[in-house]
């Protein structure tokens, strides 16, 4: 999408012969009709999906762009707000806190997940006994129901009677962290959980990437007498570049959209997130469906959109420059 169109590509035929643009071949009416027919058939196949997409995704997205500059509660008349919604959100402490938390979460989760899943993939790519078993075990957190596994984590990390803190106390830690109940540890606990949950999934993608590496490269490297570390650094990593790039983008976007994990881990029974754990999507939900300020919610969503777009563009640029 961002690549420049190669200039002049269309002026060469399939055989590489130059095309004189001054010669225009007049299509016959029958050919035109056949083409139209073909297109219509194709469109009719796309139609069911596209109509659904347009009604439920495209129109709402365009609508959200408009709404960001309006005041609306969903029923009464819309009024023009100009930039008021943006002024409001950038002075709103909860929104700013959610922005900060989301960035912290992403910066914490993405590199850790990348490293952890790559490590797992390399280890489980060796011919070891019970390899499939361990692969399944690593993948399990990803398929487990979020509600169930967050409940288990909350028990494990319970500040006063959780087994993690019991063990820490036995090991001589007098004041073990209060994890999700402590403002300073809450985000860390959420990052830890996310890495654990996601690493199995990205491990599978890395495994596919590892198996796609030509073994001749390793043989050649062995003949050149390089050690294992050098093999990893000069063969494996560069060969996995495309995989890493894909994971980086998917994971970053996923992290910016985080909501369910934080809600389930830190929301407690009331499902209310505090300033220490609130995230962008939660604030958008709150503005829209608790306060019914749809304009403000759209403005917040626009900020999220701009961030994700910017990061994706930067990542694509970096990828191209390499």
């Amino acid at each position: 999408m961002l690549r420049k169109k190669e200039v002049g590509a269309a002026s060469v035929t399939a055989n590489g012969l130059p095309i004189d643009p001054s010669i225009k071949i007049e299509k016959s009416r029958a050919a035109k009709k056949a083409e139209l027919n073909r297109n219509l058939v194709a469109y009719s196949f796309i139609a069911p999906n596209f109509i659904g997409f347009a009604v439920f995704t495209l129109i709402p997205i365009v609508f959200a762009f408009v709404l960001a500059f309006m005041n609306w509660n969903g029923n009464t008349d819309m009024t023009w707000a100009g930039l008021d919604n943006f002024k409001y959100i950038f002075t709103n402490e909860m929104f700013l806190a959610s922005l900060r938390n989301t960035v912290v979460y992403t910066v914490g989760t993405v590199p850790l997940t990348l490293v952890a899943s790559l490590f797992l993939a390399i280890v489980l790519n060796q011919k070891i006994r019970g390899r499939n078993f361990f692969r399944t075990v690593s993948f399990f957190p990803y398929v487990g129901s979020l509600v169930a596994i967050t409940a288990v984590w909350n028990m494990l990390f319970n500040p006063s009677m959780g087994p993690i803190n019991e063990i820490l106390r036995m090991l001589g830690v007098d004041n073990p962290p209060r994890w999700i109940a402590d403002n300073n540890w809450a985000m860390f606990t959420i990052i830890l959980f996310s890495v654990w949950k996601y690493m199995g999934y990205y491990m599978v993608i890395y495994l596919a990437g590892l198996q796609g590496i030509n073994s001749e490269l390793y043989e050649a490297a062995s003949i050149d007498g390089v050690n294992t570390w050098q093999k990893f650094w000069y063969v494996t990593l560069p060969q996995l570049r495309n995989t890493t790039f894909f994971i980086l983008i998917m994971l970053t976007i996923q992290c910016f959209k985080v909501y369910d994990i934080v809600y389930m881990l830190a929301g407690g029974g009331s499902g209310a997130l505090s300033e220490a754990t609130t995230v962008l999507v939660y604030e958008i939900y709150n503005s829209a469906f608790r306060y019914w300020r749809l304009g403000v919610a759209s403005a917040e969503a626009l900020v999220l959109f701009a961030i994700v777009l910017a990061i994706t563009i930067v990542q694509f640029r970096l990828e191209k420059d390499k």
Binding site: G269, S270, N286
Partner: protein, 427 residues
């Protein structure tokens, strides 16, 4: 080519049908009227069917159907359904005050005052609740349930400890001393003297019972400090369970009372029906229990307590306003109140007769004090009606949490609470 256009047109029509079908006809050809009622927790709430049966028996031409929107996101789901302008609901239950405020602001409810005045209904029987939900001189809902907070206690635990039961006239100092006296044991035999559920109402709203302050006023919240300090020191001394533990483990208040690990618990009157049912089914061991009036500050009348209401409203989009109003009038009136009371729930219309129905229920404690505890002197809503109530609620919850988990000191937390509520009010 013609075929493809036909296919496209059919697809478009199919799509537009889906959207055009929002408002369905409610009056059938045989003269019966069908009313659709939006509720939550239909399967676990006995009174919906009881009310409908009683109403249909009186009004043979009317059919009431129920649609359950679920409890967790009820207000959100309801408002989304009503916002389209073409919902099928004729009557809706309104769960809380912030939700009511949002619906009113969006112009989704019918003004009920003209109907009330036309039919000459005396709203004083609701004990001031109608005045508390009045917006710009009129109101859009009528309460049918009104719950208030009382102090539940486990008689067996008091008997075992040889401590006299709490009574209907207790100050907070007496309550605190009693809770400490009732705390005993450790491990699995540990008995906590009191219990606070993780809702902010359970502690924070002790502070508004003197009638001097509105929780939505913002500014100086230091008047809440004594109650937070009492709760925190009880927590530190093991008199009540640790807030952070309760919250992260998502522990429900009913369980700790059922398994006899707490001697006293402040909770809403809705817990009476659940407790009786749990005792009957054997789910609960706490079958010897009682209630007394809420503890009160020095100089405040006993029986002053917190309340929360459940109300009915009529969406402005319905075509069956008159039929809907007749149903609302029934459910929120004396007849509905009797049906509600017979299922162990507290109707918004209160009088001696209704209290007698509840107190004579099987499983309700037989002592005089428990029956007397049903008389409310003054009721303050957990969340008063305010234009920004939904946003204020979030701030109040947040700092309740920060204080109770020890992330902030009481003074720090209350100062922040005031600052943030002021910010909400200014915007």
């Amino acid at each position: 080519m013609k075929k493809t256009i036909a296919v496209l047109l059919t697809a478009l029509m199919a799509v537009s049908f889906v959207f055009a079908n929002g408002s369905s006809e409610t009056a059938a050809s045989d003269g019966t009227t069908t009313l659709t009622w939006a509720v939550w927790d239909y399967a676990t709430t006995p009174y919906y069917d009881a009310l409908i049966e009683a109403y249909e028996a009186q009004n043979p031409g009317v059919n009431v159907e129920v649609i359950d929107l679920g409890s967790a996101d009820y207000q959100t789901a309801l408002q989304i359904q009503l916002s389209g302008g073409g919902s099928e609901f004729d009557v809706v239950a309104v769960k809380d005050i912030p939700g009511y405020n949002n619906l009113v602001k969006a112009g989704l409810l019918t003004d009920l005052k003209p109907y009330v005045e036309r039919d000459g209904i005396d709203t004083s029987k609701y004990g001031g609740i109608v005045e508390q939900v009045t917006v710009d001189g009129t109101y859009y809902e009528l309460p049918f349930r009104s719950d208030f907070w009382v102090l539940f206690y486990n008689k067996d635990l008091f008997d075992a400890a040889g401590v006299p039961y709490p009574d209907n006239d207790m100050t907070f100092e007496e309550y605190d001393a009693l809770a400490r006296q009732m705390t005993s044991g450790s491990g699995s035999s540990k008995v906590y003297g009191a219990h606070y559920h993780t809702w902010r109402s359970a502690i924070q709203l002790f502070g508004i019972l003197d009638g001097q302050h509105q929780i939505t006023d913002g500014g100086d919240y230091s008047y809440l400090a004594p109650y937070y300090e009492m709760a925190l020191s009880q927590q530190a001394d093991g008199v009540v369970q640790d807030y952070a533990t309760l919250k992260t483990s998502n522990i429900h208040y009913s369980g700790v009372f059922y398994n006899e690990s707490v001697a006293m618990m402040n909770m809403g009157s809705w817990f009476i029906a659940s407790l009786i049912a749990a005792n009957n089914s054997g789910q609960s061991d706490a079958d010897n229990w009682g209630i007394v009036k809420y503890p009160h500050a020095e100089g405040v009348e006993p029986g002053t307590t917190l309340g929360t209401i459940t109300a009915l409203a009529i969406p402005s989009s319905t075509n069956e306003k008159d039929a809907a109003w007749e149903f609302v009038k029934f459910v929120c009136g004396e007849q509905g109140a009797e049906v509600l009371a017979s299922t162990g729930n507290f109707p918004a219309v209160t009088n001696e007769e209704i209290n007698n129905i509840i107190a004579s229920m099987d499983g309700f404690p037989q002592d005089e004090a428990s029956k007397e505890a049903l008389n409310v002197a003054q009721l303050y809503l957990e969340m008063p009606l305010h234009d920004k109530s939904a946003e204020i609620e979030v701030v109040l919850n947040e700092y309740h949490d920060q204080i109770m988990t020890g992330n902030m000191s009481v003074d720090e937390g209350l100062a922040e609470m005031g600052r943030r509520v002021d910010q909400v009010l200014a915007n």
